[in-house]
């Protein structure tokens, strides 16, 4: 686990992801992404307080990464077309982002280095009072009203909703409770309660993987289209592999 990266400020989830990939000197592909999935989740946990709408972006990418990782761990896992697309998209975005990051070095170096200056003022011309017929009190009021209407407002996403959908910890807690109580249940059953959004499925999945990682539960899948069954392992005695 790296602690050097922790102090860095990331512009967004792709910035973080790219720095993790580059740190390991990997090319952008699914293997690289599965390798950095754990690092990414770890960093997202440490980043802590970012604006709620950004955290949604971070967590969505975390879920895609864990999907990639779980596919590499459980090759039998079948991905839906959407999920497959999501993985490909992430790769593409990251590749584009990487090229843009490279190019930003040029922009930074060149910006302000040898400026082409444009004239500081208009060529001297005699000022002739020349209002345009469109300039009336009424049209000016209309114009300023338009401006006021278009003043930027924060794009507010209701905090309560996002919290409910994307709070990892809550999903983990709920999953842990149900697993310890019921000992054996299917992943599909668990996600039934949250099926409104694909995000929920992914987050549940992510939470499950988190539990797997912590050794709280074990996963087995019967056949490639079968349900994933979870059962308690040695609860309270984490195993690290």
């Amino acid at each position: 686990m790296s602690f050097t990266i922790k102090t860095q400020v990331f512009e967004g989830p792709l910035d973080l992801l790219l720095s993790l990939v580059e740190k390991r000197k990997l090319f952008i592909n699914d293997i690289a992404l599965s390798k950095v999935a754990d690092d990414y989740v770890e960093h997202v946990k440490q980043l802590g307080h970012f604006p709620i709408e950004d955290s949604a972006n971070f967590i969505l990418i975390a879920s895609t990464l864990l999907l990639i990782k779980s596919k590499s761990l459980l090759p039998a896992l079948t991905l839906t077309e959407d999920e497959q697309q999501g993985i490909q998209d992430l790769e593409t975005r990251l590749k584009i982002y990487q090229r843009m990051k490279d190019m930003s070095v040029h922009v930074k170096r060149m910006y302000g280095e040898s400026v082409i200056y444009t004239p500081t003022q208009a060529r001297p011309a005699t000022v002739v009072f020349s209002p345009h017929p469109s300039m009336t009190s009424a049209s000016l009021l209309h114009a300023i009203r338009d401006i006021i209407r278009n003043l930027p407002k924060k794009e507010v996403i209701p905090k309560a909703v996002i919290r409910k959908v994307l709070n990892l910890e809550e999903v983990i807690v709920s999953l842990t409770e149900r697993v310890t109580a019921g000992l054996r249940m299917s992943f599909r059953e668990f996600t039934k309660a949250h099926k409104e959004e694909k995000v929920n499925v992914i987050v549940s999945f992510l939470a499950m993987l988190e539990l797997v990682k912590q050794g709280v539960i074990q996963v087995n899948q019967e056949g490639s289209f079968g349900d994933i069954h979870m059962e308690t392992g040695e609860v309270g005695v984490p195993r690290y592999t």
Binding site: E113, M135, A138, S139, L140, H142, A143, I147
Partner: protein, 204 residues
């Protein structure tokens, strides 16, 4: 400034240096001032000006050097004066459109106001629109008592009279509008300091 740029700028001919300065300043400059800006003698400046003048004529360029009373400036070539005169007329008649009305309304309702603030309220850069409004005598610019490097813009008396009022506060909904914009400015300024950031290249 890196050494490469510095050395190339030394290599640029004196007449190119003079041309760039005159072009950029857009107003008459004395020979003496040019000599000091280019760190050379007035004699050399005169030679370089003659050179520039000749080169502009030989190459049939659209601009020319105008000299009077030991001052020089650039102007458009006399052969093109008809075109430019037409352009000037068209320019004054042209409808400045939505951008013009917007900018003018901000200066009327919020003036005296800096260009940075106009930019910030509009969400786009207003440099050229403001120049246009100045040339048309619709707005005027004054010193900013709070900041020597920037100017304040306000409607001209002619504009106020043209709008059929005697003072800006007779504009419809003047107080309401002013308050609404002030609220926006104070709310966002605290949060982001965005006005400061937009201050660069403020030279108008």
């Amino acid at each position: 400034m890196n050494p490469i740029t510095a050395s190339t700028s030394v290599q640029a001919t004196l007449s190119a240096q003079i041309e760039a300065i005159l072009f950029w300043k857009a107003e008459p400059i004395s020979i003496k001032k040019l000599a000091s800006l280019c760190a050379t003698s007035e004699e050399k400046i005169r030679e370089a000006i003659a050179e520039l003048k000749a080169s502009l004529i030989t190459n049939n360029r659209g601009i020319t050097v105008i000299e009077a009373n030991d001052e020089v400036t650039l102007g458009t070539a006399t052969a093109l004066s008809g075109l430019i005169e037409q352009l000037t007329k068209d320019e004054l008649m042209r409808d400045l459109g939505k951008a013009g009305l917007e900018t003018l309304s901000i200066i009327i309702y919020q003036g005296p106001i800096t260009r940075a603030e106009v930019d910030y309220i509009r969400g786009v850069n207003s440099q050229f629109i403001i120049r246009n409004l100045l040339v048309r005598g619709l707005i005027e610019r004054r010193e900013n008592p709070k900041d020597q490097r920037s100017f304040l813009y306000a409607p001209t008396l002619e504009l106020i009279a043209h709008l059929g009022i005697t003072k800006v506060d007779e504009m419809p909904e003047y107080t309401t509008v002013r308050n609404e914009i002030t609220n926006f400015k104070t709310a966002t300024q605290d949060e982001t300091g965005a006005i400061d950031k937009s201050n660069e290249a403020q030279n108008n």
